[in-house]
Symmetry: C2
Subunit: 440 residues, 2 copies
């Protein structure tokens, strides 16, 4: 009986609970938070303030501070997890899962059975991927799995080295930097997929990265290459109702997902791949074993709890919250740029969503802003002069008339971005009611 | 005030605490434990039993079950963490450290400042490494850091590719398998360090792995190579009072440590390197970023708490417990083999230990057992016929007259090993009082 156990045993967990409650109770003015492992002053963890805020309670705003819209740090869901504190907390005992393995009889069992079940369940409820007949392998974020997949899909036959790794611009730069960084005899990054299209060479193996929805544009993409010597790695990081309607379930040989964009827990370093072929799965597992001996069991415990919250109420709660945030940010962004000829945003058509049973517009994680004037050939500099930090086009192998703006950071970062864009385009934005859910 | 906060706020953490207490309260007869993320039956997590035990409460022993002494799964400290439940537990909130970084202003800040402080403190208290003037980089276990170090120390000048990676047998096989698995244009595993000794080639770069104390022997080792083109990676996984006297602090260009052998938390995948040279540190950091974008912040939070417990009472408590366990196991092992001509164990001389201020004998993590008979040329098979699973010599590039026996597994595994060795050598072991601390 839980009640009896509670009276008898709720002792060892008490001080850990108190410490966590203390950190959570620190007043940081809605512009920061104190962490359990932060610097301690006078017995209390200090507030860690959002960018542009400072002071012991984060109440000082620096008016000249730039609006940072550079990286995809997914703080946009922090408020959701604060609201769901009770169901998302997890108490880790000192003796939790000390082993290398989840199984005493199999030293290479690297994934929690319960976690795997919950991953399959989330895909089933959302309807964004078919997991039947697929293997699941976990990694330290999508990042580790991207290279594990390249390794696993490369030919190990030296006579046809190296496998060519390609993508279609604009693409996520890590495909290039990582593949080049770990360049082995077996594979080499070769840039644009289209360069491989008309070749008569059908013996060299090719791996094509396809991000769908894409980063930075947020659009559905298809591979441009096909054939018996072509393998595709689908990066499905953004294929969640947070960012896009779900037209139907992905059913691919190799798809990679990450918790970072789904729930915002980038710091946990957790991703997974769905893999159809047993041999590819085994080769990726070998990579994980040689690289890190699987991933942290502390992380897997926490991710299980987080996915349980995602699954509450048929998953309407978290995806509803995430979509409302993103929809509101897109409305504010479109509004502030509505009267500008100088800047344009990507077009993303509305589609039927099988998860929400209705047509809806995408709300991508990033704006792919274009400076329309010919002479604004470094759009990033144009924004920088207005004190806005974006990520320039050539970091996606694209034209520098484009800049990526991250829309998934803190509300403070987003507010700062909108204010600075507003100043720059010098029009008055329509006043929107911010969603109560994320108002501070 | 903590008390006030507690009354007001100890609400969101309650159900997580109750769940953990419930799992901890499951009766598994001292031969297993239930985990928070285990399979749930009738609302309760099931017991996960030690090898050779089964049943809902792990009370059924299988008499024919082999004694597993193969891998180094460090359950030997599980009992310690159960005894220190209150101080070692950690409550993770749903919004804990969602960012990629520990710092809003530096997107690549991958290590918790408090954790780094505590790592330096542990080394200072134990006296096993000088950390002043050294950089600290964290990895997913020593495993990730080994390859990060190889990458960082390899020349990036193609005219002198590849850097030769070597070690001295018997050595930890992962140096070879991992280096071969990730073989790039830049480095290649070439086996025995001694093969590089008499070469006149002083332009090719060489990386030598030195494990000290060594795995499998538990002896202090020195590099066999030196010179301007030689870099040494010191694997210091076993340089703790658990296993060895501490003659003095290591002060090396690159030393790698892991929590797995220090506190037994192998499942957390956490290790660190002390690095003298800034450029090497930066190159290892780049590796970590391209590979996994640093390591899990959930893990770092837990490791901070674990190191705080290690530091309690001048660190006498944990190191005392660990040493008593290992000493007891070595006494029982030596005792059972005392009257055998067929088997011998490695010699490890007593030394002065600056941590305990006295002379003491090493208590290595592994026995390096030798079958002394010429005809026992596969010692592993000899043990296998007595239902004992060890790791054969050639898995350390050594003679198969040797077998490594892991002494850091569960007490049940160790008891089974001793009983089977006893039967095999057919002598009656001296009865020792087992330490109360780890008696079950």
């Amino acid at each position: 009986d839980v009640g009896n156990n509670q009276n008898k045993d709720q002792s060892w967990s008490r001080s850990a609970a108190q410490e966590a409650e203390l950190a959570a109770s620190m007043d940081c003015s809605g512009h920061g938070r104190a962490y359990l492992d932060g610097i301690i002053i006078d017995g209390k963890p200090v507030c860690e303030c959002n960018l542009c805020y400072s002071g012991p309670d984060c109440s000082n705003f620096s008016p000249d501070c730039p609006a940072d819209a550079n990286d995809g740090d997914p703080y946009y869901l922090e408020e959701f997890w604060k609201k769901h504190a009770a169901s998302s907390a997890v108490m880790v005992s000192g003796w939790h899962r000390m082993s290398y393995s989840y199984s005493f009889s199999d030293q290479y069992c690297q994934i929690s059975e319960e976690l795997e079940k919950h991953i399959r369940k989330v895909h089933e409820v959302v309807g964004n991927a078919i997991t039947d007949g697929k293997y699941i392998i976990c990694g330290a974020g999508a990042t580790q799995l991207l290279n594990a997949a390249v390794h696993a899909l490369s030919s190990n036959n030296p006579s046809i080295f190296p496998t060519r790794v390609v993508a279609t611009a604009p693409y996520y730069k890590v495909y290039q930097t990582q593949t080049e960084y770990f360049e082995s005899n077996r594979y080499r990054f070769e840039g644009e997929a289209s360069a491989c299209m008309n070749g008569s060479d059908t013996t060299t193996n090719i791996i094509e990265f396809v991000t769908s929805p894409s980063n930075p544009e947020g659009q559905f993409k298809r591979p441009v290459l096909s054939g018996p010597n072509v393998k595709t790695i689908y990066d499905r990081a953004y294929y969640w109702p947070n960012f896009t309607p779900i037209p139907g379930p992905a059913d691919e040989d190799l798809s990679i997902f990450t918790i970072s964009k789904l729930t915002g827990h980038a710091g946990s370093r957790f991703g997974w791949a769905l893999v159809k072929d047993k041999e590819v799965y085994e080769r990726m597992t070998e990579y994980l074993n040689e690289n890190t001996v699987g991933i942290s069991k502390d992380t897997q415990l926490r991710m299980l709890k987080i996915l349980k919250v995602v699954l509450e109420d048929g998953s309407k709660e978290m995806f509803g919250f995430a979509h409302r945030i993103m929809k509101n940010r897109w409305e504010r962004l479109r509004d502030v740029l509505a009267h500008s000829d100088r800047f344009s945003l990507q077009q993303t058509p509305a589609q039927y969503c099988t998860f929400t049973h209705g047509v809806r517009e995408p709300t991508p994680a990033y704006a792919w802003l274009k400076c329309e004037k010919e002479e604004d050939e470094n759009c990033s500099d144009v924004l920088r002069s207005a004190n806005i930090i974006g990520r320039k086009g050539d970091l996606f192998n694209a034209d520098n008339h484009y800049v990526r703006l991250s829309l998934i950071r803190t509300e403070d970062d987003f507010d700062n971005l909108i204010n600075r864009l507003h100043k720059m385009v010098n029009t008055k934005p329509r006043v929107l009611d911010k969603e109560k859910d994320h108002a501070r």
